[in-house]
């Protein structure tokens, strides 16, 4: 297969069929159509666990991604209550060639939790929802995978600790899903990656084997063999099902200073970024970027006071939301003041506000968090979560806009805006054709391949924090060598010989 050929198709809404002899999950096999569910399977599951349902309403909700981009056709939802039950289910499904889709809070964006054709069993983690313990000396928290992120955050906060991940979907997403998609979020720069903060996992492999990978005995420093637990972070449930986690939490910051700044040029943005690293350094908690197009969409929805150019009432070209997380209010306020003073003196910002209180701080975050819904409201969203070296963001954005100008029909009105976590290089690129609420394949053709190519030319990552799911897995041959892909396939094959676990996700589809 030529690399570029795979860029020419994208399957939305309709699920991909997994027919013999084509191959799911990138594993070549000849007998691998999954078996369809029977009444006999249903009885077996009923004998294993209490909560089994094929209620059409439940299935409809479970089969639809909230973005409506992906639609599955699973026939049964299982809600086990223990890892042992999950082991029993997976052992049976492995032997019987029944494909299984693990499902958390259903807040994903890449179809990772939506069944592809052939996958008729949904394995819900909802009932593994116990916060087990927190060591208040070390901040190590142990909880089950089905816990809602926000519940875990609250539990930790009550003990003066901060869960090192935070994202918009926190009220609904489950921590097992956060781990399985290797979620990043806005605090990644300050508190580090899940790779560093996850000290241990309990998982059930696709072959039914239950593994306690330092979950019940977590240590900050541990060197007792291969770091198997790392393989399940970002594996989107294709290797095994995460059932519990031991997570290192950070000391809760007692001081949070927040400011919203506007810049005229992207070079100023880069200079402000440099100044923030210098003056705010160890307390730099978040630095969120928004461009003019995004903010224009917000002007009717949020307080305009912090946003507009007084002369013409328009949005400024670039915005930065800066937040510190520290332990000493006086010091943190002084650092923020030094930072903003330096930025003003160097002529790097054209407008700027600090939040004098928590309510003002919340208002600034509301602006930032309104970016996504405001964009989504106007049309179907061509949305890409990618990493691009920060020095090249403006060039990347401009280059793609030029490409769209040249290639989209001249009578098509389109809106292209960007926000992102600029400290991490993680940009959220968005295109909408106002009023068009469904995918237009002709637009997609001018967006997806050119964007992926430009990310790769700049040595970025085609998937920063949303995962691959069934959306970006087909592009992996452009990212990794065949040797690396083959090594990933071998790993999958070893633990999931029949490829039953979340087929059609992560690994690129191949034809035999």
């Amino acid at each position: 297969m030529k690399a570029l050929q795979i860029l020419q198709t994208r399957v939305f809404v309709t699920a991909t069929a997994c027919k013999s002899p084509i191959v799911c999950n990138g594993l070549k096999r000849t007998l691998s159509t999954f078996r369809s569910l029977t009444a006999q399977d249903r009885s077996v599951f009923d004998s294993m666990i209490e909560h089994v349902t094929d209620d059409p309403q439940v299935l409809s909700q479970r089969n639809t991604e909230w973005t409506k981009h992906y639609q599955g056709n699973a026939k049964l939802v299982l809600q086990p209550e223990t890892p042992e039950q999950i082991s029993e289910i997976l052992t049976y499904c492995q032997n019987e060639r029944l494909a299984v889709v693990p499902q958390g809070g259903q807040t994903g964006l890449v179809g990772g939790g939506v069944a592809t054709a052939g996958a008729e069993v949904i394995l819900s983690l909802d009932r593994l929802n116990q916060i087990v313990a927190m060591d208040e000396t070390t901040g190590i928290l142990q909880c089950q995978a089905g816990c809602i992120l926000q519940a875990v955050q609250t539990y930790a906060e009550e003990r003066n600790y901060l869960v090192p991940i935070d994202l918009g979907a926190k009220g609904t997403c489950q921590i097992g899903g956060n781990l399985s998609t290797n979620a990043g979020g806005q605090y990644y720069y300050r508190y580090g990656s899940l790779a560093g903060n996850v000290l241990g996992l309990q998982v059930v492999l696709a072959n039914g084997r239950i593994l306690d990978l330092n979950y019940s005995r977590p240590s900050l420093k541990d060197n007792t063999g291969y770091k198997l637990h790392q393989l399940f972070l970002g594996a989107e449930g294709t290797l095994g099902v995460i059932t519990a986690v031991a997570l290192q939490c950070a000391t809760y910051p007692t001081s949070q200073q927040t400011a919203l700044l506007a810049c005229e040029t992207y070079d100023q943005v880069l200079q402000v970024l440099k100044l923030a690293k210098k003056h705010l350094s160890e307390i730099l908690g978040a630095l969120e970027f928004m461009d003019q197009i995004v903010v224009r969409l917000l002007l009717n929805k949020v307080s305009r006071i912090h946003l507009v150019n007084e002369d013409d009432g328009d949005a400024h070209p670039y915005y930065l939301l800066v937040e510190t997380h520290g332990s000493n209010i006086e010091h943190d306020q002084a650092k923020m003041e030094n930072f903003i003073t330096a930025a003003l003196q160097e002529g790097l910002i054209i407008n700027g506000f600090t939040a004098p209180n928590e309510s003002a701080r919340q208002q600034m975050w509301t602006i930032r968090e309104s970016a996504n819904p405001s964009f989504t409201a106007i049309a179907y969203g061509y949305k890409y979560d990618v990493s691009v070296p920060v020095v090249e963001w403006d060039d990347f954005i401009t280059d793609l806009r030029q490409h769209l100008t040249q290639t989209l029909p001249s009578d098509t009105m389109w809106v292209q805006g960007n926000w992102g976590h600029i400290l991490d290089g993680n940009i959220h690129w968005n295109l909408a054709i106002p009023g068009r609420h469904t995918l237009d394949p002709r637009v997609l053709e001018q967006v997806e391949q050119p964007l992926i190519q430009r990310v790769l030319e700049r040595k970025g990552s085609i998937s920063a924090e949303h995962g691959l799911g069934q959306s970006k897995n087909k592009f992996l041959p452009l990212v990794h060598s065949e040797a690396t892909l083959q090594t990933m396939r071998e790993l999958k094959q070893m633990w999931d010989p029949n490829g039953i676990l979340n087929p059609g996700k992560v690994l690129p589809p191949t034809t035999s």
Copy 2:
């Protein structure tokens, strides 16, 4: 095999033989004696690379661990210059069943780089020693595995970045070895683990396959498939050979404040730790613990001024070296002052000094870094690097001392002292019988098994930062379930079917 049986033997100095049908690296196979080197093999290696030697002096040095605890019997040293050459070597050795020991700077403490019997080829990384690049905007550094850690640190520091690992052996150890042993060190708490900071690796698998695992395209946030690179951190070269790394460096701290404090009771130590986390919080860079026994050994070697009780000239019961890494001298000094004032007001410290200048700071670190050599100087060291929950350190120490009092012959004089990275729970436990410069198996019997048991009872880790090597691998069945060990063996088997890569390390030996 019963778990406890494996605690009854420990092989030092003499290399373990790998004879059929016993099994190396925990892999069951029947035909697995490694082949001995022949003149023909030598010619093959000569045709592959320029630097091949069997010089007896070189071999003697390469076969001996600096601690003299481990002695190998390799017959040939290969010094390839490229990953492609390593691939050629490993492919040949895999096919020919020639066992290979990858070797870095030879500063390990668990025999990980020393050949076991049957392993006759040393693969040195010395000649892969190029610092490739550093992105000065992001702090991402790319270098080859054979670079000396200190050279990399200097290179980064010149660009205002700090390499997130530091340890005593930095002038000799190689970064590939640091990664392969998953080295921790004193700055782990502040800058996080290698799991978080290593963004990509170039590796050559034991089967000769070269993998670029995000090495040439590192992003802070990347979700493009299974995190294979994590498997090589701490694998001690048993799965593949790390040839290059992309490492996230931290902003270099422009302010370092250091203090040496003494406490009367361990409860005070715990209270000081709590105060340090509160007052120093985000700038807390290191918090090093030493006990009275260790400091007594230092009294003739370093300036006594900061150490002794003025009344009797003796060392205090406990010492803490506290260091901050921050960006604002004025703020950091104020935070340190607040911290020490609070500790004094609460009666938690009985003596304390802050370092007024860099020379005084260095002097404090010299005290801390003299602990290990001072202990080593007096006798053969029974040394254990373990993680124990911090609240239990004193109990753990006391408990083991009581055990030694009860079980060692009453006419044996022994010295047991401890130092460690208390923020991480990483304690270095040391026993010496003054004047005895060789291992006494009767002493070992009263030390090793009781210590390991007490670590596990307290849910600690039997290996914190030194690795397993050929020293602690036999204890893994006490740490992990058979299911986990079997999963580790399967991984090894997949990539190294003949078990040629660093046999006898990491995985526990098993008998067929």
